[in-house]
């Protein structure tokens, strides 16, 4: 277990390094740069700026310099705003993470409950209602859903205020983020639960005299969770980093927003910072979900 974890962590570091290298060289290979504007700026100013950001050196050297600073914990300064990249990432990630963890929790709890319910009441009306809505939420793209939520509950009904930094109301953004994964988890749980409920060991449990609730929650759910866990790992990383679309629709300055504006501005330090941060998050979430996998399914052995 420990050996496996250490191996996985080392592999993760390699993965992240490769991602960083590819991003760095690809970013530099694209014509133009942070200070290339439609209106040419004064060559002298440009030269100073490029020297300040090491852009005058060969790309290989720039990469080594970046790595050296990175190793010291220095992500650099944004070429656009002049602020520390790390500060921007961490403050915006705080918002994205808060939003994301609420969304994940909602999606997970609702998905598991609704999925189990649909499986247990298969063919009856609750099942049909649940399946109708989950199909809807899986099919409708999030930018339409987010806009619709905003239009109906904020604009027409006025139940929830529009997001603002000073008075953030999380309900609608969380819903917009959570509905798709919730619907997906519901469907996953339902099919997995149905599969498990037809297994012989469920009949064994009933034949032992186990209470129906325990048959479901002890004997069935844990087995049914196995496929769900696989999905939840990457999902967590995806949601925690902030869904760009939802953040844009609700005008939330989360990490997703900075990621995309960084790319638009050719803000090299910002692009590198956010990419490495997201990659690290993604890799560690996958690792955690793999370890969690082991915890619920004894058949999975490492080494």
């Amino acid at each position: 277990m420990l050996r496996y974890s250490v191996k996985r962590v080392l592999l993760a570091v390699v993965t992240i390094f490769i991602i960083a290298a590819i991003t760095f060289f690809a970013m530099n290979a694209i014509p133009g740069g942070p200070f290339a504007k439609e209106k040419a700026s004064e060559p002298r100013i440009k030269a100073v700026l490029e020297k300040r950001f090491n852009l005058d050196k060969p790309v290989g050297e720039q990469f080594l310099l970046y790595l050296r600073n990175f190793a010291k914990g220095d992500f650099g300064v944004s070429t656009k705003t002049g602020r520390e990249v790390s500060t921007t990432i961490f403050t915006s990630f705080a918002i994205s993470a808060r939003l994301g963890s609420m969304a994940i929790l909602t999606a997970l709890v609702m998905g598991l409950v609704l999925g189990s319910l649909a499986a247990l009441m298969r063919g009856k009306w609750p099942d049909r209602v649940i399946i109708f809505f989950t199909t809807l939420f899986v099919a409708v793209p999030s930018f339409i859903l987010a806009t619709l939520l905003l239009l109906v509950f904020s604009h027409l009904l006025g139940w929830f205020k529009v997001w603002s930094i000073s008075d953030p109301n999380y309900t609608l953004p969380v819903l917009a983020l959570a509905l798709y994964p919730m619907a997906y988890i519901t469907r996953l749980t339902k099919s997995s639960m149905l599969d498990v409920l037809g297994q012989d060991y469920i009949r064994t449990a009933r034949a032992k005299g186990v209470k129906e609730q325990l048959v479901i929650f002890k004997h069935a759910l844990r087995n049914a969770l196995i496929p769900v866990v696989t999905y939840v790992g990457p999902l967590t990383a995806y949601i925690l980093t902030g869904s760009l679309v939802v953040e844009t629709v609700f005008n939330i300055g989360g990490l997703g927003t900075h990621f995309v504006t960084g790319i638009n501005n050719r803000d090299y330090p910002m692009i590198m910072g956010t990419t490495i941060f997201l990659a690290t998050l993604m890799v560690s979430m996958t690792l955690i979900s793999d370890l969690f996998y082991k915890a619920i399914d004894p058949k999975i052995t490492f080494d």
Binding site: Y201, R203, T204, A207, K208, G209, V210, K211, K299
Partner: protein
């Protein structure tokens, strides 16, 4: 025989409603089981053996349900018990082991966990006591290194070992009846013999009654005090093992016996029963076996035969017996 039997199944009917109609799996079964006896239920796939067993314990798969009849256990009708009361019967008074030990244990819990669960459900033992009892049971069913097995998961055990664990789990609360639903079908032959021997042995030690369900007459020949032959959810013949084997009086039973390979007459071909099992969605009016029966008469297609007593230890439901008896009667009269 004055004492009332331990278990009495009376006119039991079980159906599975489906979109294309009612699958009538069990159609009026009657039998009784005395304390400490072994009853064999024989029949091919789909004859209603397992459904009968699941009906007794009320663990039918959805949407199966009992529509008629009663299951009297110690003079209490199990069909009419509340779900809560029924739970105290399952595993405590009547236990069951299943056909496929590979899939009958929960893969995500240890053997010890699953054994202790069964024990703690029906007795007042605490965690340590339940563990001790689990260990004792594993030793009793001949599992080697029982201490180690308690901590293992089902996937770490062989098929024969898992069936032993299932038996240990079923017998942990000292039930009055053990239902064995084709306990050896999924195992290879040497393990089959070991498991049957184990069951025989445990019956002597613990004194429970056994209902042995199988499609293999050879399996139950030695063990059973009484044998029921089932076809299309009905009993077609019943009697002592000796009567069924040496004096079969139903064409279906004869067919089953012909399809057993015999070592002595090794060169002869096996005689399978022709045709396919009856469609339980559309049961015929007459004898369900008539369509596959070489000796079928007109009446067989029209009317169901009643059970007719052949002798003190033997009953059969076949019109041929009625015919023979009438002819015999005429000759004598």
């Amino acid at each position: 025989m004055s004492q009332s039997p331990l278990l009495q199944v009376r006119n039991l009917h079980t159906i599975f409603p489906t979109e294309s109609g009612e699958v009538r799996a069990v159609n009026g079964i009657n039998f009784s089981l005395a304390r400490g006896k072994v009853l064999g239920i024989v029949g091919e796939s789909g004859s209603g053996k397992s459904v009968t067993a699941y009906s007794i314990l009320r663990i039918l798969d959805n949407p199966g349900k009992i529509t008629q009849g009663s299951v009297l256990f110690e003079e209490e009708d199990l069909v009419r018990l509340s779900p809560g009361e029924m739970r105290h019967v399952r595993g405590a008074k009547i236990s069951i082991i299943f056909q496929d030990p590979m899939t009958s244990l929960n893969p995500v819990y240890t053997v010890g966990n699953q054994l202790s669960e069964a024990i703690r459900l029906h007795t007042r033992r605490n965690r340590q006591q339940a563990r001790a009892r689990a260990l004792e049971m594993l030793t009793l069913v001949g599992v080697n290194e029982p201490e180690k097995r308690l901590k293992q998961y089902p996937y770490q055990l062989s098929g024969g070992m898992r069936q032993r664990v299932m038996i240990a789990m079923a017998l942990a609360c000292e039930p009055d009846i053990l239902i064995a639903d084709e306990p050896t079908t999924a195992l290879d032959v040497t393990i089959q013999a070991q498991i049957l021997e184990l069951m025989q042995d445990l019956k002597e030690k613990l004194g429970m009654a056994i209902i042995m369900i199988t499609h293999d007459l050879g399996v139950i020949a030695e063990m059973c005090d009484e044998i029921i032959v089932m076809y299309a959810g009905r009993v077609c013949e019943r009697g002592t093992a000796e009567e069924i084997f040496y004096n079969p009086r139903h064409e279906y039973t004869k067919g089953l016996l012909r399809s057993i390979p015999k070592l002595e007459t090794g060169k002869g071909r096996l005689m399978p029963i022709g045709g396919s099992p009856v469609d339980l969605l559309n049961l015929p009016e007459g004898c369900a076996f008539a369509a596959r029966c070489d000796s079928a008469m007109k009446i067989c297609l029209r009317e169901q035969p009643e059970e007719l007593r052949i002798n003190e230890h033997h009953l059969a439901s076949c019109w041929l017996n009625v015919k023979n008896q009438m002819e015999g009667g005429q000759e004598h009269g």
